[in-house]
Amino acid sequence: MAQVTLNGVGKTYPNGFEAVKPSSFDIADGEFVVLVGPSGCGKSTLLRMVAGLEDITAGSLNIGDREVNDVDPADRDVAMVFQNYALYPHMTVRKNIGYGLKNRGTSAAEIEAKVQDAAKMLDLSALLDRKPSQLSGGQRQRVAMGRAVVRDPALFLFDEPLSNLDAKLRNQMRIEIKALQRRLGVTSIYVTHDQVEAMTMADRIIVLNGGEIEQIGTPAEIYHNPASKFVASFMGAPPMNLIDAQLENGEIRMNGSTVLTAPSDQAYAGPVTMGIRPEDVVIDEAGSTPFTIEIVEELGAHRLLHGRLAGHAFTVHVGKESLANAGEVRLQIKPDAIRLFQPETGKAI
């Protein structure tokens, strides 16, 4: 087990493309960190640099007390789970799981014992003599996990390990992976483009965009206090409502007429982008803001009301007990539900 320290780690590919801008952060021993961001933002590149599969072109990377920039992947004491699992197709599950140990000169008896342990932990005991082609997607996923677990590494690396599973299995595996990581206490870096996975699994989330870190924080921090418009719109489903408006004298004006009270202590004046989470507003006869419901999305446990607020697309999230029909309602929007961003830079004010 180990902490991981990135100090200005960046990657410029040989073709001159800077996939990861110099980034610095620490991961504590036993922490589960999720790297999240849209496709192509450099998540895999960053993870692969930690694994040693990709050269680090800037900065330094430490795993434990050791700088590992030039250390071979095999000697970094990391284990990685790939999106397509990368199981060895011609080997049985037993051999797949034991291969890393065999290469490290572990005795046959010890390999067998460790493989049995890992298999038991992952519910694979009955499948040890099968080949990957004879397994379901979820089982393959487990084997890939087994291959990582069996070596008892200092660091787990996951690159979108659940993307190839159907939604139901994904939810189940999400919980299993998290539980397993808790139990083993191994420091983990988990890459995903799925904000739900990030929110549910992470101790800490790192949001990446265009090769740059947008924000680092706990799921709650990221959700409630997004550092930028990008984070606000990327994290949360449905995303935060973002509306361009004008801030003056503690009042937010949309399209000239509709007025909201700004969060307190705003020295700033001028154009802003206002962000409101769909669940942070209430439908209230006495509310001050008119809202036109156009479409009601029925989701069982709750409803999403899509419509227009001062001419802007706006979504409201209400409980299942709340009535909902297309038409005019009034909303109560509390000042502390409002986040403000600079329109050009996108940064939070």
Binding site: A51, G52, L53, D72, P73, A74, V78, A79, M80, F82, Q83, N84, A86, L87, Y88, P89, H90, Y99, G100, N103, R104, K131, P132, S133, R147
Partner: protein, 290 residues
Amino acid sequence: MARSQTRKPFKWAPVFDHTILILGALFMLVPVVLAFVTSSHSAVQIAREGIMFVPGSHLGENYSKAMFEKGGFTATIDGMVMLKNSLILGLGFALGKIIISMLAAYALVYFRLRFATFAFWIIFTTLLLPLEVRILPSYEAIQRLDLANTYTGLIVPLIASATGTFFFRQFFRSVPEELAEAARIDGAGPVKFFIDILVPLSQTMIAAIFIIMFVFGWNQYLWPTLITTDEGLFTLVRGIKQIYQTMIDANSIPEYGQALALAIIAMLPPVLIVIFFQSWFVKGLTESDK
């Protein structure tokens, strides 16, 4: 009720297909059958009457003489020795080509060589230069290395294979990159990855190339003729020719029966290889591990 059924219209397509297939099969098989039937007659009779259509009485005699009677100028070589030489050539040729081309493809695909693509195209263009084109320099080189009349001299100049390299390169490129990366993290170096992962994955490719190359090597004629003058190294394919050559030189009737017997025997190993590996090959394809 029975009457209500309309008659199915007669389908001509299957008849047509089968006619072509049967004609093709006959075209391939009849010469072999005739060679076999004729090989059961005595040389004198064949010399007099040509190809025979009914079996004769010299079958056992022709085959045992062809295989076990020492012949040639020096009377040192029999069919068994030639069979052995042909097997050595066929196997050495096929295995050599597989090993060389797999290693070349491995280097081209998995290592960041600066000029990998260029090197590949250089290798690929050698397809335009088969052995026949470079036969004189090859001969000269082997001669100078004192390797004429050795198995090494017979096999080594033939085993460079652009075709094999090409096929293995394409195959390796289709293997997911993550497999190599997983193996790297699992502590497998380049040699281990090659032997533990890549070779087993290539089984079907290896089988396919082995079939083609074994038959190709087995049927080599020009190069062996040039490089082996020692009769102890003659292959079956050459032996067939040799049987009448010596007889004609000696002004007697060529041993047609024996030559045909040898021809039939020369056909067997490639046929067996194809039959044996084909089932294996198909199994590999259908049990695809992907």
